[in-house]
């Protein structure tokens, strides 16, 4: 298994290489020039040129790309063109909010979706099952920001139970931290819960029709024991898969949610960087999220070993 993990990590390197080249080329082609954005309305063309030179933007693209790769290999992701702060520092500041929302969203979705899926599978065609079908179809159809505004209106503006916007870091207290997470996580889970529930249901249905389940029932095992002890463990593989793959989708939702709830996360930082053409930040974020994605996939695959002893690498 160790050899498998190593092989996977090595395979990831060309993927990251492809991504880096792609992003760099894209930025090179993009109109709009950070030197101009920075220089402002009143700058003379000479000023702009001097800024461009001091930023190193006048060098040929291959040289800039090569320089960037070299620094990345030394752990240096460069500095933001506008604020001058190191990209690694900026990402570090914004990781906690984004990861918190993503984790909270996934946890809520799993905690709600899995039991609902099990209940739906338990009585196929019953009321929970039918509601679930409708819920799945609808939850794909609500734009994230509409859900966000609606939830904020009800729980923050009207009931005043929760804060409207902002993020309180964990170091300021567990209570405020969790309170600031609830609305964004709920909004995110609107997308994901129905999907998890439906995958759980399908997976449970398949497992429940297996021979060994029928054997256990014949031996007199209770419904609960069958559902949880036998079926769920084996049904878990596809659920874990969906969670792993869903992270990429959730990040897209997180970008909009960060915008609506004014959360200082990586999503809004990247959108701002794209609109301002802050190249080092864009390249750094894309590289890190891709690496993160590869890592998550590896973790998911390694999880399978825990869940399904038949799987061996």
């Amino acid at each position: 298994m160790f050899a498998y993990a190593l092989r996977r990590l090595l395979l990831a390197v060309p993927v990251l290489g492809v991504i880096s080249v792609f992003v760099f080329s894209l930025l090179y082609l993009t109109p709009g020039d950070p030197a101009l954005v920075m220089a402002g309305d009143q700058a003379t063309p000479d000023d702009v040129e001097r800024i461009r030179v001091s930023l190193g933007l006048d060098r040929p693209p291959l040289e800039r790309f090569g320089g960037w790769i070299w620094r990345v290999l030394h752990g240096d992701l460069g500095h933001s063109i506008f604020s001058g702060q190191p990209v690694t520092y900026m990402i570090g500041q914004r990781l906690e909010p984004t990861l918190s929302i993503l984790a909270a969203g996934v946890i809520v979705s799993v905690l709600v979706g899995v039991p609902v899926g099990i209940a739906a599978a338990n009585r196929r065609g019953g009321p929970i099952d039918r509601t679930l079908s409708v819920a799945v179809a609808t939850s794909y159809a609500i734009p994230v920001f509409v859900a966000g505004y609606a939830l904020a209106f009800v729980f923050a503006s009207w009931l005043r139970w929760l804060p409207v916007e902002g993020f309180t870091p964990l170091e300021n207290g567990v209570g405020p931290y969790l309170r600031s997470l609830i609305l964004p996580a709920l909004t995110l889970s609107v997308l994901f819960t129905a999907l998890i529930a439906s995958v759980t249901r399908a997976s449970m249905l398949e497992t429940l029709s297996q021979d060994y389940v029928r054997t256990a029932a014949a031996k007199g095992a209770g419904r609960m024991r069958i559902l949880f002890h036998h079926a769920l463990k084996n049904a878990a593989v596809p659920i874990v898969t969906i969670v792993g793959g869903g992270v990429a989708t959730l990040i897209g939702g997180a970008v909009v949610i960060e915008n609506v709830f004014a959360i200082p996360g990586i999503g809004t930082m990247t959108v701002d960087a794209i609109l301002h053409r802050d190249y080092p930040v864009i390249q750094g974020v894309v590289l890190l999220t891709s690496a993160g994605y590869v890592l998550i996939n590896l973790l998911v695959d390694l999880c399978y070993v825990l869940l399904d002893p038949r799987i061996r690498y």
Binding site: P31, G32, D33, P34, L36, V37, M38, A39, G40, D41, Q42, A43, T44, P45, D47, R50, I51, S54, S80, F82, S83, G84, Q85, Q93, R94, I107, L111, Y149, A152, F153, A156, S157, R160, W161, P163, V164, E165, G166, T168, N172, G173, V174, G175, P176, Y177, L178, R179, S180, I182, F228, N259, V260, F261, A262, P264, T268, M269, D272, L275, H276
Partner: protein, 527 residues
Amino acid sequence: MLRRDVLRGLVFGGLAGAAACGRGGASAANTLRIIHSQNLASLDPVTTTEPATKDFAFLTYDQLVAVDANFTPRPQMAEGWTLEDNGRSYLFALRDGLKFHDGEPVRSQDCIPSIRRWGARDGFGSLAMSFVDDMQVVDDRRFRIKLKQPFALLPDALGKATASECFIMPERLASTDPTKPLLEALGSGPYRFLKDEWVSGSHAAWARFDGYVPRAEPVSGTAGGRIPAIGRIEWSIISDPSTAMAALMAGEQDYWDTPPAELIPTLKGDPNIRVASRNPAGGYMMLQFNHLQPPFDNLAVRRAVAMAVDQRQFLNAISNDPALRRPCYSVYACGTPYASEAGADILKVADITKARAALQAAGYQGEKVVLLGLQAGPSGSLAQVADDLLRRMGMNVEFVAVDFATMAQRRQSKAPVAQGGWSVFLTGWTGGDILNPAVNPMLRGAGVKGFPGWANDPQLEDLRHQWAAAVDPAERQRLATAIQVEAFSTLPYIPLGSVFGQVAYRSNVTGVFPAPVAAYWNIGKKV
């Protein structure tokens, strides 16, 4: 299963605990929480003219000279200045007790490089520097500026309230290259910037600088005593206006710097919120032409557009409240000394039919007009109004929606429209930016060397030089009017009128005063 139940228990327990605690800490009463719509991206007010950096600089730094409510320059860090040698030399003296945030005293050796660095980038500043012969340190608290010829506007330049302003920085920072942005902030202003708490795009914070010695006079414009009236200031960058409004109404924030006009009635309806107009100078929108390419290289076509523009209609797109809109038929900010309606007849025609006829007479053959507009925001809305107007005149318009980085680049293009050029775009300035011929970057005729648009009018340039060199105020007044008359006959751009922004704040916020910039000194909170 046990594991899942434990996890569920933790989450619910945490939620219950969370409900019991309040939000924020005990220091909320001593913190002014401001919703700042624009992000603080750069810490250098010389290399960038972004409004957020300007607001940051006014808190963190201090000025030698500051203009008051009548735009008259008054001493700020300076105790005063004396004119020597028939107006060809200024002797400045600094006040007692001025210190930077690291405890070091402010000296002449800090002021001179600061002025130089500012003068290298700013329009009014470089105009001023062109008159300067030399700047010399007399002693730690006094320095002299020697001029090549008398320049009465030096204090106005040093004290101007529009980007970029002249702020005094420590010698070390002020000696850096004016095209390299500063990455640290060490000022002598009423508040100290807390760089460790700064998250670009999200929030920023300042703490009161106890060593600050404010002037004794009351505030007037940017002049007067800049008293730090509260212990801590926090900015939250909230770009979504409905979220910002909800936060202000819920009491999570204390002050909102730019509420959109449509939300003002709702804010006014809340008994805990006050709405006020702080900036008497307002915002001025303009339609800028590309003078190098058809069709707007033709003066008659530009005049036809001027005949179509109805300032009252345009401004309706920003605000329905008549009190907040003011048509202004001058190239200067209305209500300021140089404003008049001399030569403005063409702007008052406001008749589409006449405009269409004039367009035909001008020989317009259907050449493509590319209108550059932002995709979102009030500027984007106005661009759509302009698009509609030009279409109704009968022009062949293509509206190209871009983000501001692309806009900044595309409007540099002098190429024909078919090769990625542009014909017209909208831009806006504050009243302070168009106060006089020195600060207004579009009131120029410098041709290809000037601001994008590249109006070529040697007569205008000549009048501007004469104005800058004039010593007698009455002569300056006459020349300013002459500049306006010239501008309205050659039309480098078309003014679209002015809009007044308002701010909103909770009723327990005190000390809000009218000022041409977002000044956060003097403002505190009752508990």
